[in-house]
Chain length 222, copies 2
Amino acid sequence: MSLDVASSVVGILGGTGDQGRGLAFRFAAAGHGVFIGSRSADRAASVAESIGHGVVGLDNAGCARAADVVIVAVPWEGHGELLTGLADDLAGKVVVDCVNPLGFDQLGAYALSVPDGSAAEQAARLLPDSTVVGAFHHVSAVLLADETVNEVDTDVLVLGDDRAATDLVQALVDRLPGMRGLYAGRLRNAHQVEALTANLISVNRRYKAHAGLRVTDVRLPS
Amino acid sequence: MSLDVASSVVGILGGTGDQGRGLAFRFAAAGHGVFIGSRSADRAASVAESIGHGVVGLDNAGCARAADVVIVAVPWEGHGELLTGLADDLAGKVVVDCVNPLGFDQLGAYALSVPDGSAAEQAARLLPDSTVVGAFHHVSAVLLADETVNEVDTDVLVLGDDRAATDLVQALVDRLPGMRGLYAGRLRNAHQVEALTANLISVNRRYKAHAGLRVTDVRLPS
C-alpha cells in the first residue's frame, strides 16, 4: 500500500524543459501543488501558465524552497552547477534526480562517463543535507505532455539508499495514472538506469515508439 | 515478421550453468538442435542427459564448431580466457553474449567496471572473425529451467552493430514462448543492459520475484 502523499507539493527544477513540463502537468492533474523552476522566473511563470492546472513558475531557488519534494529535470550539462548553488535551499528535502547523462553522435545516443558514477550520485555528493533518489529516467516526455494520453504505460525504477525516501517517491509515482513505482536498487546502481535511456532511444527509432518499461513478475498489494 | 530460423542449431558455451541449462531446455523444447559446451565433455554430456529433449553435451570447442549460432553463458570471470581460446572455432559465426559482469557484497549486486566497456564488447574484440550480439541478459534462469512455466513473460533486448545478426537473434528469441526479441541499440550501449541485471536482482529481493522486462509502446507486425 502506498504512503499518503496526496498533499505533497512537488517542485521541478528545469521545469520548463520537455521532461519537466510533462511531469508538472501530470502531478498537477493528479491534484498536487506544483512549482516549476527555471533560471528565469519570468520564463517559468509563462511556461506554468501554458501548462495550466494551477502550476506556478518561480526561479529555481524559489521552486526548491517552496516544494516538499524536488525533481531535478535539467540538462546534464547544467546539473552540477545548478545543484551546487541550491544545496542550502534543498537541505532537508527529498530530491529526485531524473537526469540522463547522454551524448549524441551520428550513430545515435550513448552513455557518458560520469566521474561520480551517475547523475544521481553526483547529486548526492553535491547535496549532503538532502536525500537523493533516482527516478523517472525512462518516462517519455512526449507521452507525459500529451493530454490525450490518459495513462502512461510504464513502471518507474526508483533508486536510493534511504528506504523512507524511496517509499515516498514510489508513492508519488503511483499517483500518476498508468505508472507504478518500483524499488530497483541503491544509488550505486543508478548509472545503468540512466544510461539505459540510450537504448530506449534506439528502440524508439527502430520501432517508431515512445518506449517505457514494465517489470514482469512483480505483483504489488494494492 | 521473423526470419525462419527453425533449423538453426544452437550451441551454448557454459551450457552446464543455470542460465545455459535453462536456455538449452527452451531452445530444444522449441525444436532446435542444441549443443551445450563445458570444459569437461563428460560433465556436458551428463547435464545434457538431465536436460533431455535431445540436447547433446560436448567440450566447449566441439560445441562451438557444431553450432550455427553460439551463446556465451559462462561466468564473467572465465569469459576472456574462454573466448580467446575459441576464436578460430567461432570464426564466421554469430556469437550471442549474455554475460553480466557483476560483483556482490553485503549490500547486494553491483556492476563491475569492464575495460572494454562491456562483456559483449570484450567478446567482439576477442572474436574479430565472429559477429557478436548481446542478448538474454535479464532472463530469469529459474523461470527458463522451470518446465511448469509454459511462457517466460519477458522481452529480450538484442544489441549489435550488424543488422543481419541482430535480426537473426531476434528471430531466435521469438522461437521461445512468451519471449520477444527487440533491437535495443549498438554494442557500445551494451554495458548498461548487462549492468541492469544488478537492479533486477534488487527488484527480485524486494518483491520476491523473478523479474523480466517488457518494453511498452512497441508493436511488431506478426
